[in-house]
């Protein structure tokens, strides 16, 4: 186990309960999708796993250090005053890595994220998809053991989104980090993950956990397979049931 939540509850003063009780355990190298409606506390769960928040009650634990965890947000979240390369270098700079090693790893990460030539560009000069790839490069430059993705492609068009999902699969095959992928897109969740955890509407609790019976990484053809369609159906139905129970 690389990270876990056990009966984790998050209450915000004045805003009530955001999450829980919710339990989730992440094994090394697996891809877990957390799906649920808006406002169910998916991002809160991710912040607990990242160690950026503490649960009001329950346990949030990680067996990897902070340097071994990376996070990608819905927006690229790049520093507008810094070049793409400087943005990717951020975790290494904060770690105190020397310049030549930083430059080598930044170039490698940009190449792995399929944006090898944008290092000198400022974020405003990048398209949405390129900026998100730079954000992905920053997340993988530390070669994390736990990669947390908070609806990273929600703001992108369908074509860019599909290409980036493929990129995440490819990046996963290179170093096999554990990935927790928050989304409200059922097809994306089923295509990318080895299991899908469905949350109830806020405050989110686990409504169902559905395994995706196909080895990773998956070919594009998987999207038209019977397993894919069947799993999407089961996840959608679990979501509908969770929504119905909440109503």
């Amino acid at each position: 186990m690389i990270a876990h939540l056990r009966d984790a509850v998050v209450d915000y003063p004045g805003r009530g309960r955001a999450l829980g009780p919710f339990s989730l355990s992440i094994e090394p190298g697996e891809i877990v999708a957390v799906a649920g409606p808006s406002g169910c506390g998916k991002s809160t769960a991710l912040r607990l796993l990242a160690g950026l928040e503490s649960p009001t009650s329950g346990v949030a634990g990680r067996e990897v250090g902070r340097g071994a965890t990376s996070l990608v947000f819905q927006a690229p979240t790049l520093m507008p005053w810094a070049t793409a390369a400087a943005n990717v270098a951020l975790p290494l700079k904060l770690e105190g890595l020397d310049r030549s090693e930083t430059a080598r790893r930044v170039a490698g990460a940009l190449a792995r994220a399929r944006v090898p030539d944008v290092g000198a560009a400022l974020p405003r000069q990048l398209s949405g998809g390129m900026a998100m790839r730079v954000s992905l490069a920053r997340a993988v430059v530390t070669e994390p053991e736990l990669l947390l993705l908070d609806e990273p492609f929600a703001a992108l068009d369908a074509i860019t989104r599909r290409a980036l999902v493929e990129d995440v699969h490819r990046l996963w095959t290179e170093t096999r980090p554990a990935i927790v992928f928050v989304t409200h897109d059922v097809e994306e969740a089923v295509y990318l993950a080895s299991r899908v955890v469905v949350l109830t509407p806020g405050p989110g609790r686990a409504a169902a956990e559905i395994g995706v019976d196909a080895p990773l990484p998956r070919p594009e053809a998987f999207r038209t397979s019977a397993v894919f369609r069947d799993t999407v159906e089961r996840v959608s139905s679990a979501l509908a049931t969770a929504m119905g129970e909440a109503a």
Binding site: R47, A50, G51, L52, R66, G67, T69, S70, L71, F73, A75, T77, M79, P80, W81, A82, L90, P91, K93, L94, E95, L122, P123, R124, T142
Partner: protein
């Protein structure tokens, strides 16, 4: 075409006002010491241009020195306040009190502290006083205007307090800091002129002294010429700071 109109419209209005003013002075035979016509003002400006320009540069130099001192002090205070929330709570009310106190009321005190033989110190001091608040306020607001997700990333990657302050908060504050300096630059000129008036001596040889000197001799056209030079100085400072702001923000990466 629209840009040309934007430039031409105020110039046309100015020309019309000057023509009306000139005609009124001539037709109504207004005494020159009471209200000189624009032609007399331009003549005074022409004849005293070297002196007025030198005085304008004196005022500008002292205002810019005041701005530089205010910038150093205000940025240091804002950064310290950015490190300790309690310090910010302590500083803000005092800064606001300084801001709401009329600069004319503080001027005599600053003159005394500067010493009667050093009116230039009073001028710089008062420019510092008026320029301080906009820079401090802009910097303190900007240091808190950080993208919360970027802040989370810094925490996730184990950034220390100083790394976050200088690597994230200070660059994030850049647009606010630049805006604060733009406002402060205009105020520094006002502060310098007020201090020159209060000092009331020729020690500083600034534009306010030229206005006082001409007023004492009832040379109203020369007063207007100095006023005109003061307005030009204000506009130059405003345009220079606006251009610097646009350049810095472009470099900073704003869209």
């Amino acid at each position: 075409m629209r840009r040309l109109g934007d430039i031409a419209a105020p110039l046309a209005l100015l020309a019309a006002l000057c023509l009306g003013w000139e005609a009124a002075c001539r037709l109504l035979r207004v005494p020159v010491y009471f209200l000189p016509p624009p032609s007399a003002v331009l003549a005074a400006l022409w004849s005293r241009a070297p002196l007025l320009l030198e005085s304008a540069l004196n005022t500008l130099e002292m205002a810019l020195l005041g701005l530089a001192c205010a910038s150093l002090i205000a940025m240091a205070v804002a950064l310290a306040a950015g490190l300790h929330r309690l310090l910010e709570s302590a500083v803000r009310p005092l800064a606001v009190a300084l801001q709401v106190t009329p600069v004319v009321a503080i001027a005599p005190l600053v003159s005394i502290w500067a010493g009667i033989d050093h009116p230039e110190r009073a001028v710089i001091g008062l420019a510092v006083v008026v320029a301080f608040f906009p820079i401090l306020s802009g910097a303190m607001t900007g240091l808190k205007a950080v993208d919360p997700d970027l802040q989370r990333l810094f925490r996730l990657y184990g950034a220390g307090r100083l790394q976050t302050l200088f690597g994230l908060q200070l660059p994030s504050a850049a647009p606010f800091v630049v805006e604060g300096h733009r406002v402060a630059a205009g105020l520094a000129v006002i502060g310098a002129v007020v201090a020159e008036f209060v000092a009331g001596s020729g020690g500083t040889q600034g534009l306010a002294w030229r206005i006082l000197e001409a007023g004492n001799r009832l040379r109203t056209a020369e007063m207007f010429a100095a006023l005109l030079m003061l307005a030009i100085l204000g506009l130059v400072v405003h345009w220079a700071m606006a251009a610097a702001e646009a350049w810095i923000l472009r470099r900073w990466g704003a869209r």
